[in-house]
Amino acid sequence: MIIELGHFAFVLAFALALAQTVAGFAFWQRGGAASHFVQQAAIMQFVLVGLAFAALVQAFMVSDFSVRLVYEHSHSIQPTLYKFTSVWGNHEGSMLLFVLTLALFGAGLAAFSRNLPDDLRTLVLSTQGLMVAAFSAFVLFTSNPFWRADPAPMDGTELNPILQDIGLAIHPPLLYLGYVGFSICFSFAVAALISGRIDAAWARWVRPWTLASWAFLTLGIAMGSYWAYYELGWGGWWFWDPVENASFMPWLAGTAMLHSAIVMEKRNALKIWTVFLAIITFSLSLLGTFLVRSGILTSVHSFASDPTRGTVILAMLAAFVGGAFLLFALRASALRSGGLFAPISREGALILNNLFLSAATAGVLVGTLYPLVLEALTGARITVGAPFFDVTFGALMVPLLLLIPFGPFLAWKRSDLVAVTQRLIGAIVATLVVTIIVFALMGFPVSLAPIGLGIGFWVMFGAIAEIADKGAIGRASLAQNWSRLKGLPRSVWSTAIAHFGVGVTVIGIVCATAFQTEIVTSMRQGESVEIAGYTVHYDGERLVEGPNYMAEQGAFRVTTPWNTTRGITSERRVYAVSRMPTTEAGINTYGFTQMYIQFGERFGAEGRVVRLWYKPYVLLIWLGSLIMAGAGFLSLTDRRMRIGAPQSARRKQSEPAQ
């Protein structure tokens, strides 16, 4: 009964979303009862979808194969964690998670929006309700996770073995929190266009939602990348795969929006552009959903998809994006333009940032869609590979990265580039010194790597310089430094920390790309291989039995240049039910550096093909992303995000002293 009750709860949520949408759009100017209704409906919706989701989780946990989805994507001998994650390791379940996240953000807005004007809140929630209704309908009528099987099969087919990993518990929920979180920004944009109210206050109100979504998306992408890195066994961490691009494009656009919203909030400028970005960002999220779910792309994300669903998603994409742009075209011209500023100014720097990020988004979009469009028009099948993206994206990122440290130093309205450069002199000198040292340690090779590292150091030192400058370090006593640093708003800290994280990631990327060593060899038991000063000794293989797989496990010992030795195992698994093989890379971590071993096919009678990678500082890539996301969350705690909240007594006391 729980399953059917869950199904009913979901249907009820759908009906409620319809009512919320209609009531909200009809009576948004009336306030009062309509406003309360819409708020309550948004919260109840989340509760109901949550119930439905819980019912589905329950069905998976007890292996109820009378639910078709459980039969198709789970098996009674699967470990408990994977029974749980199987819930969203498939199309239907993950669409339910998608709707749950939509409802979560709606409920969040309803609950934490006392500082919003009634009419704006009602419009945002109505738009959000419309999306919940549309996606619920899609789930209910084309991809219903509650569809039953009668008679119930004896046992299930198994979850795709590649997905049987802790990564499935982390990556999709985080990614959805980011991806779908931008729906709130989209709803804010639509609400702004309908009500005609687009001003600095709007930017402030939408900022926490943008920040939270952006931080979650950063985490989601980083975790997805790390998961692909260790699970797929190709040793790479980013493949410019269309599915990766699908998540990266909203991130780029979202990053641009994060920055343009600052200009809007502070200076009442870039308003039309910011609203445009809000629409674009979520549109790209929807585009990603369409690309991944329509079956146009084949990847580990596509599951069993059929073209009908793809068409429905495409229609929804067209309706939402088209509708929003139509509204945009009708209303944008009526908006009042904002404050004026000189090209050399904080605003100018943020516009440059936006130009580069949007151009990068466009580049990735073209590279992702071009093969699809070409195939649709001419039937020719081509792939746009890493070289295109590396060149296009790299060329756009280098100037952006070079500019990052300048931004926070520039004054609003008009600024003096020479003076700013003087304040950055410490960072410039430090970058040059460190880069030259690295260059010398490498023996002055003919390579771009030192320049890449230099750029990474520049971004990091620039961020440190900003904090040092704000804290008047070197210009005042230590006590004064300390009190100034303590007094810095969290938004200043988070800006610097996030930019520092960008630098860390850049260094990780450069090191892992330029200095990695790869060896493909065949090894027999007892043989050793040297890689980058490390000795890898092959101890032999054995058969290992997992809960639902058999594995050929290769055992290795890695001796470091400083003579410590640690074991490492790498497996080739065959899963019992699906008979599908997977590889489990063996990874040893030394500081930020990793030794990565992939145990390959048999070679001759006793040998094995073994692929080894030495990846120096590769962990910095994800560490930098974690720092960026952490900075996003830190920024959320900034006092100014909570306007309307009473100020702390301590601060009130300190004011007369000034």
Binding site: F8, V11, Q39, Q40, N144, R148, L488, I643
Partner: protein, 357 residues
């Protein structure tokens, strides 16, 4: 299932009540412009803070304050928030029953209120067994496969049952489907070869030999295919290759496998053939026995190593009973009962009772 409707109704009532009371919440004499005022005030505080931490200079602060003042003035001028225009409670009240109507209507159309939950632990497979005979179960799976002929799991379930029921042509067909649907592997190819041999009354034609060779090539450790191949080659008097195969089997054996003795006698027979010795001219009976034994030992080796379905264990126990007697069969039976999942165990136990074990 009345309980479901009761809970569904309760859930709906709770939600509607929550909405109703939310609407009745008194509309405070809210100032619709308060949020904007709060924002403007915080902007002013932001300027003061920037000034304090030295992010902007005094002159910039003055300019920023002036700009903010202009914003405030414009806001006061353009202010268009008025008090709520009349109550909308009535149309909203109408919405409540509509929500219930849409929910129940939609659920009625797509829900399966008649189906109870069937968690695995609560399912009574023993009862299922008594209700459904094997023939019925096969018929059900067959019916399903007519609709979804590409469901490889169905074919995998059916094939060994066909073998056990002696429906060899159907078994061969099922194994062929499995090979077509899934990447071919040594096991299935050998299964197909086995089925084809049974279709041909124990004779292996060239197709079967080709299949066995392919299976052996695919997996250097595959025993069963080599067993068949070696037996068949011995029968065809292709002694050189047969001897090499028997030798290979003995080489990859640890020595404790139950089929080692058979392989030794096979090797002896093949070697005798090679030297042309009349000493041990393999009689047809002898090779036949080698073959049958090879089949059984191959099956045993696989089941002991990798486990298998109830049907396969039944096949092994029955064959063992015929060849080696009740004690050996009982050993296999114990092992099978230990390996099988509870729901399959019942079938094997019932089968053993039928055989009198």
């Amino acid at each position: 299932m009345h309980l479901l409707w009761l809970f569904a109704a309760l859930l709906t009532l709770t939600v509607l009540a929550a909405l109703y009371f939310a609407m009745r919440r008194p509309v405070m004499a809210e100032d619709g412009d308060a949020p904007t005022r709060a924002f403007l005030r915080s902007q002013l505080e932001g300027i003061e803070e920037d000034l304090r931490i030295g992010r902007i200079s005094d002159t910039e602060a003055v300019a920023a304050r002036a700009e903010l003042a202009r914003e405030v003035m414009r806001f006061e001028r353009e202010k268009k928030h008025e008090a709520a225009k009349g109550s909308v409670r009535l149309p909203m009240l109408v919405a409540l029953p509509l929500v219930a109507l849409v929910a129940f209507g939609t659920y009625f159309a797509i829900g399966r209120a008649d189906l109870p939950a069937q968690p695995l632990a609560a399912r009574d497979f023993a009862a299922d067994q008594t209700h459904v005979s094997i023939a019925e179960a096969v018929a059900q799976v067959e019916a399903r496969l007519v609709e979804t002929p590409n469901d490889v799991r169905g074919w995998r379930a059916l094939a060994p049952v066909y073998m056990q029921m002696g429906r060899y042509p159907e078994a061969a067909n099922a194994f062929r489907r499995i090979l077509a649907l899934d990447p071919p592997d040594a096991e299935t190819e050998t299964d197909l070869a086995e089925a084809l041999i049974m279709v041909n009354d124990g004779m292996a034609d060239d197709d079967v030999i080709a299949l066995l060779r392919s299976a052996a090539d695919r997996d250097p450790m595959h025993v069963r295919s080599r067993f068949y191949l070696a037996g068949e080659l011995t029968r065809r008097e292709d002694y050189d290759e047969a001897a090499a195969l028997w030798q290979y089997l003995l080489d990859i054996a640890v020595g404790t496998e139950p089929w080692v003795a058979t392989a030794r006698s096979g090797l002896a027979a093949a070697q005798a053939g090679t030297t042309g010795g009349s000493l041990a001219e393999p009689t047809p009976d002898a090779t036949q026995e080698v073959m049958i034994r090879g089949m059984v030992e191959g099956l045993a080796a696989r089941l002991y190593d990798e486990g298998g379905s109830a049907a396969e264990w039944m096949q092994l126990v029955r064959s063992r009973l015929v060849i080696d007697g009740a004690d050996a069969a009982r050993d296999d039976l114990q092992r099978g009962l230990a390996e099988l999942a509870p729901e399959d165990r019942i079938a094997l136990e019932a089968f053993a009772q039928e055989l009198g074990l």
